[in-house]
Symmetry: C2
Subunit: 456 residues, 2 copies
């Protein structure tokens, strides 16, 4: 708002954050240079954005309200490179889907998005200037430091890929190539932020400020994961689904630490109600015994929750109501926008229909039939793990047929070690990208570990 003083702007920008590096940079831009702070937030466009995205979105709303110029980096290239799980066209569709959804979410929480800019990573991360900067940065950052930087962000596996060392460098360079003053992210990004602070000056670039959100537990308990459909509430889930999933959410009575529902109220619902209020006061309503209790601060709510004045049930009902109120305009926009629907279909194409039971018959090219003995005799797959095959013989799944990958996923989910081992053999035989194979083998070892542990 034009009416905010510089001090108020800075307070709003840093509200609810766990840590800020380079506050002087922010103060300099807003107080001395008297211009909008330019800030970026990046997201790899892989799984569907879920309700956990409300947390950073709420901060983006703060930034926009404080007059910042906000850039959202749709990191399609990162998403593509993350084990090459999806082809570049697919992650670019996903980036567009993210753009639709993020705009919709921000509109839903009542923020003007005039100063919001979306940038596709692939639009500049393949440029000569960017590449030379990756090369230059790789010549001053040690392996050790790159590894350390990604420790909390890059998936830690037994045989880490080289790409995991390049990512932190790219994230640092994005600050320069997006022309921002500050980067925003979760506190899990801290080491990457530090890498940027320590190394950008060596390339002749200025140091940026870094704004860090605390790590907020997911609504369903633990980290909300996009890849497990049962652990997350999709931004386009129906009101009934939201109610159902919240009912199942972990929410221990009298416990506020690690309580995802309380955290959602604290980091999303209260700040948003505050942004939308004419008097600037937060307002979160819980109904108990037919009476409305209005909370203006999270502290009061936590107090009552610890004292058991309000319990998980009332809290969940209130949260469901408030969340559905936020999701309603998003669902509505989706329902009324053919483009939105179209891009959703392109970004997350439905899995190939499971083959109907005709097991006696040879299927398609006969390729599957040849493998039949190894992968047969299992129920139709319930989830689809998009296969990435190395150029070579097409996999059954690539031909729209359920194949060993699906069976592997299935076996994994049901904890069937021997079935998974058979499926892996079949997968190895049909030719598969090494990264994928490694991933599957890792999953199998995990499963075997569980299996052994279970037997002991």
């Amino acid at each position: 708002m034009a009416s905010l003083t510089p001090k108020e702007k800075i307070a709003l920008i840093t509200r609810n954050l766990q840590e800020v590096l380079g506050e002087d940079i922010i103060a300099d831009v807003i107080e001395k240079q008297n211009r909008p702070l330019k800030i970026y937030w990046g997201t790899a466009t892989t799984g569907r954005p879920h309700c956990g995205y409300f947390v950073p979105m709420t901060k983006l709303a703060h930034f926009l309200r404080a007059g910042c110029e906000v850039t959202i980096l749709l990191a399609d290239l990162h998403a593509f490179l993350d084990n090459m799980k999806a082809p570049i066209e697919l992650v670019q569709h996903r980036a567009k889907y993210y753009e639709f959804l993020v705009k919709s979410v921000l509109k839903s929480i009542g923020v003007s998005i005039d100063k919001l800019r979306f940038v596709f990573g692939s639009s500049y991360q393949k440029s000569e200037a960017y590449i030379m900067d990756i090369f230059r940065l790789s010549s001053i950052v040690t392996e050790h430091d790159a590894k350390k930087a990604g420790a909390e962000v890059v998936k830690q596996v037994a045989s880490p890929l080289l790409s995991g060392l390049i990512y932190p460098l790219m994230q640092a360079l994005d600050e320069e190539h997006l022309g921002v003053d500050a980067q925003f992210g979760g506190v899990d990004q801290r080491k990457i932020f530090t890498l940027a602070v320590e190394n950008l000056p060596s390339l002749g670039y200025k140091t940026r400020a870094h704004l860090m959100n605390p790590m907020v537990p997911g609504l369903a308990g633990g980290k909300m994961s996009a890849s497990d459909p049962n652990s997350k509430i999709d931004l386009l889930d129906s009101a009934a689904d939201v109610e159902k999933k919240l009912k199942k959410a972990v929410c221990a009575p009298k416990e506020v630490e690690g309580n995802g529902v309380i955290a959602f109220v604290e980091y999303v619902l209260i700040p948003i109600s505050e942004l939308g209020a004419e008097d600037g006061k937060a307002r979160f309503v819980i109904e108990k015994d037919g009476q409305e209790i209005v909370y203006e601060t999270i502290e009061k709510l936590k107090e009552d929750y610890i004292a058991d004045t309000i319990g998980p049930k009332e809290l969940k009902v209130a949260t469901t109501l408030a969340l559905n109120k936020l999701l309603d305009p998003i669902r509505e926009e989706y329902a009324n926008s053919p483009e939105f629907k179209e891009i959703e279909k392109l970004a997350y194409p439905p899995p190939p229909a499971p083959e109907k039971k005709k097991k006696e018959k040879k299927i398609g090219t006969g390729y599957v039939a040849k493998k039949k003995g190894e992968v047969d005799g299992q129920a139709a797959p319930t989830t689809v793990d998009l296969p990435v095959a190395a150029p070579g013989p097409s996999t059954p799944a690539a031909q729209g047929l359920p194949g060993p990958y699906l069976r592997f996923t299935e076996a994994i989910q049901n904890g069937k070690v021997s079935a998974a081992r058979d499926a892996l053999k079949a997968i190895e035989r049909i030719g598969v990208a090494p990264a994928k194979l490694r991933e599957l083998k890792g999953q199998l070892s995990d499963l075997e570990g569980i299996d052994r542990a279970g037997r002991e």
Copy 2:
């Protein structure tokens, strides 16, 4: 030669090599496809090419004689990235200098260079297609495998740089982007070659053959190093210098293993005399007691050397004569080519003239004067270590003045630990690229180690 049979071509291509991977690929191209084998050899354009370059050049002569299409990759980008010791313009001048010199060497040994192609790394290694391939490859190669691949090629230091992990990937990708059938290098490249064999197919690219030279000891004993002027014979050294340096060469009587002079005869002088002979027979002449002994094989020469029939002195004289005969046309070409001389000057600019003794006077901006106390009181520097400062305050040396870097080099050379430590402090204070600083600190630790060891 058009007159060589396919079998003869293959024999010539693989002659004197220690190892060949993918001989079937070579046979397929030459015998089945009946076309010239396309092969590449890469060199990072840093220090001046010295006489050690005759060893791979002799193999290139074989390839060309066997009708191969030979590509020389002038890896200017690699050179630039190698700790960013020299700016990109400088390494590109050096790449041009390499091109002049390599052509001159090949002409000197009598090979047609019609089928020789020079490619600058920077001409395609910054392209979108190449970069995407680096990204893709980094997503299937593990950190561990990239590290292992570079183990014998990338300088092993306490804090290895990330660039050292990217180099092997680039060297592998160059095979595809240069469109060759085979890569040639020393056997020290073996692990990088293996990385290429194992991973290019995952990107949908074909597997290349790999031709490996044995590791040949330098003329001056040990590895011939471009960075130590005393350990190497420059391709443009005068006849007198060659004589002088060969006289100093390590060449133990009766020992042929690890004997750089014998190795030079084996891998350069004998093969070249053979290429130039009308009857195809090698001929290496040693004068002893006024009589000429003609060697047609290295085996006979080694036999006589072990038996002490010929000693280091006769061998050195004969080698000096033969080497000078090879160098004469190169020197002549240089002397008669203004372009050659011009590019040499641009590639290896003379160090700034050492400041004359005017110590009482303030120099230039006064910047040096401020540091006087720390770096003063030492003799004028004899060698110049081109400083690469981070953008920021100019270093004295960047202004053509002797500065802390020179003093550091000087102190290092004279083993003065405390002087070097003072110089390092000054260097840190004037702002310096971290990679450079790390390097200098490493040198200082080494020196301190020596110092301590000396004191014990």
